[in-house]
Symmetry: C2
Subunit: 379 residues, 2 copies
């Protein structure tokens, strides 16, 4: 990645997640890892901290975080896990939980998750169950984690039967999104996270999507445009979570692109062949093409969505997946298994336009299958 160009201190942005007595701040800005000690001590003077990080992120950012906590008078222990989705397993979860108990983390103390969505999900879930729940702070270091996984309190690990099937709703007490930490992120990971940024525009903010179409290069380069994009994304997610914490309705909109995307991740075995954000990019392009096919939006809208995702370098079609994927039947099975099929109908997030996503609960599986057949044909 390019380095952030700012030399002057950039003011920190603040977004509040509004959940009564569990409300919390998301702070966004460069240098928040160095400022973490001060921000945490201001809220929890003298708290004992236990940091969980993956080895890659620890090598790049842990020392500065530890120094910042120490300077603010906060004692901290550390526990490292291997990078990658495989750490969202029962075995690693048990090790993290026992390490936190061993570090004598109790009510009033803090668990700190330093890393991407994997570390955030794993650590947040561990914090949820240690002594039936201790507080935790998210320090997300991927774009995906900053705009999506660190916000909203969904935590968890993977089951032998599927992803994210085991977990808890456990809100952090603070999110520190250091935008400068993204400077060390591989370009492919940044792009994958960008798919979730674009998603917020596609769901219900056409103006934001237009802005991204014009300014995406600045978002990738760093500086104020990146901060704006992260802030707008967090604000969008915070608003939805504030209204529907437990996903009984509206929060499902955040799954735009995720039903198709998840089936593709399954088909590629959740491997490095297809990152989560890349799967979501293809899934969103598919959701719009499917919406166009159903007559919900114009084909030109689907083309516009695909064009933007392709322009930033994201995949938009099954054919873009390295090594190919299993045939239509495999995807259909994954979709049907994933979703609770109520009276034969599937639930999808569809769209009437850019910024016009909605929850469709009565999608005919036959229509999905017919659509997937057209998608599978060589472009």
């Amino acid at each position: 990645m390019l380095m952030s160009q700012s030399a002057m201190p950039v003011p920190t942005r603040k977004v509040q997640v509004d959940l009564a007595n569990r409300s919390y701040d998301i702070l966004i800005g460069p240098g928040l890892i160095e400022a973490a000690g001060g921000e945490i001590a201001a809220r929890r003077p003298g708290a004992r901290c236990a940091i969980v990080a993956d080895e890659t992120v620890a090598g790049l950012h842990l020392k500065r975080l530890e120094a910042s906590l120490a300077a603010a008078g906060l004692a901290a222990t550390r526990f490292l896990v291997a990078p990658g989705e495989a750490s969202k397993s029962f075995a690693v979860f048990e090790r993290v939980v026992e390490a936190l108990i061993n570090a004598r983390i109790e009510r009033g103390d803090l668990v700190v998750a330093l890393g991407g969505g994997v570390v955030g999900d794993l650590t947040g879930f561990a914090a949820a169950v240690v002594r039936r729940g201790v507080d935790f702070v998210q320090v997300p270091t991927t774009l995906l984690a900053q705009v999506d996984s660190s916000v909203g309190g969904k935590t968890g690990i993977n089951s032998a039967h599927g992803k994210n099937l085991i977990g808890a709703f456990h809100q952090p007490v603070l999110v520190l999104a250091d935008s400068a930490a993204l400077d060390t992120l591989p370009a492919r990971e940044f792009r994958a996270g960008y798919a979730e940024v674009a998603k917020y525009g596609l769901i219900d903010d056409a103006a934001f999507f237009s802005e991204l179409e014009s300014n995406w290069r600045e978002v990738f380069a760093g500086g104020p445009a990146r901060l704006n994009a992260i802030e707008t994304s967090c604000r969008a997610k915070a608003a939805i979570v504030g209204r529907d914490e437990r996903e009984s309705g509206e929060r499902a909109l955040l799954n735009l692109g995720h039903t198709f995307g998840h089936a593709l991740e399954k088909a590629t075995g959740f491997s490095q062949r297809l990152l989560h954000g890349e799967a979501v990019a293809i899934g969103m392009a598919q959701a719009f093409r499917f919406s166009a096919r159903l007559g919900l939006c114009a084909p030109s809208v689907a083309a516009r969505v695909e064009d933007h995702l392709a322009e930033v370098g994201l995949p938009t079609r099954i054919q873009h997946i390295q090594g190919g994927v299993s045939p239509v039947e495999g995807l259909m099975a994954a979709i049907a298994q994933d979703k609770k099929v109520s009276r034969g109908a599937l639930t999808f997030i569809l769209a009437r336009g850019v910024g016009g996503a909605f929850v469709a609960k009565d999608v005919d599986p036959a229509a999905v299958e017919a659509f997937l057949k057209t998608e599978a044909a060589p472009a």
Copy 2:
């Protein structure tokens, strides 16, 4: 145990746990296992059920539960674990969680815990984390589980570092306490559960304790006195939980006898040498003797408590533990490690009299140690 003598149908007692939108009923009466299907179907018509039980309880009561669910049109799968505290482990927890996911338990479905506190704690915790929380029903089959562990939403497993350190607050949607199921319970287990019944009298209900002193033989024999005792106990716990679900204050009173008791359980390795309820009996007797020593209550009050527990056949002194326990230092270390020592002081539940328990946050460790030395001396 003796058999319940009633031939006529006995009306079911109902206690409500009042927790806003998570309120639920505790039903108490003989034959509730046979009535489970009807009670569950009335609340959740057509729900898919997954029963978790231990092998001993399954052999005695599972068939009738399954028949009752089937008769009410409820599909049910079953998963059995080994009886005993060792099943509250990470390994068994993982197996239960994966079995529930494999049984396709989702929101709207029900997990049913059939057994004692071990199965209830383990299964409730599994229900708390499958798909970030599915509903569950407690069908407690020990006296301890009927009057204590099945009520109030504390669920969990044991850590390598200590008991019940991993878990969740997850309230059941219904508790079905079949008092006739206790007829198959070994006498020693019934007695151990009775310690928790007596506890409610000692905490804040002197009249109930007096009643138990007169009527305990009827409680052990079954029939209306047993129902009354279970109902009064559940009502007491429900009231405290309704006011302090997360144990930020008053709920700590339920730990009367548990600090000393827990240290004794540790010292005996949580083995069959000392059941939880037996440890609580000794712990309560100690809490009253310690209170007397501190001048909080008359020595005659401590003697009265000890007399009643001894009369029903419960142990009341360290010397009653088969095989003996580690010396004073070991118990002190367990107590200090167990409790968060804040500024050198320990928190204990002490009493000014029968029914006059209170939370003492400023107990001097030296006073505890001196007391334990007098306790360790041959009686």
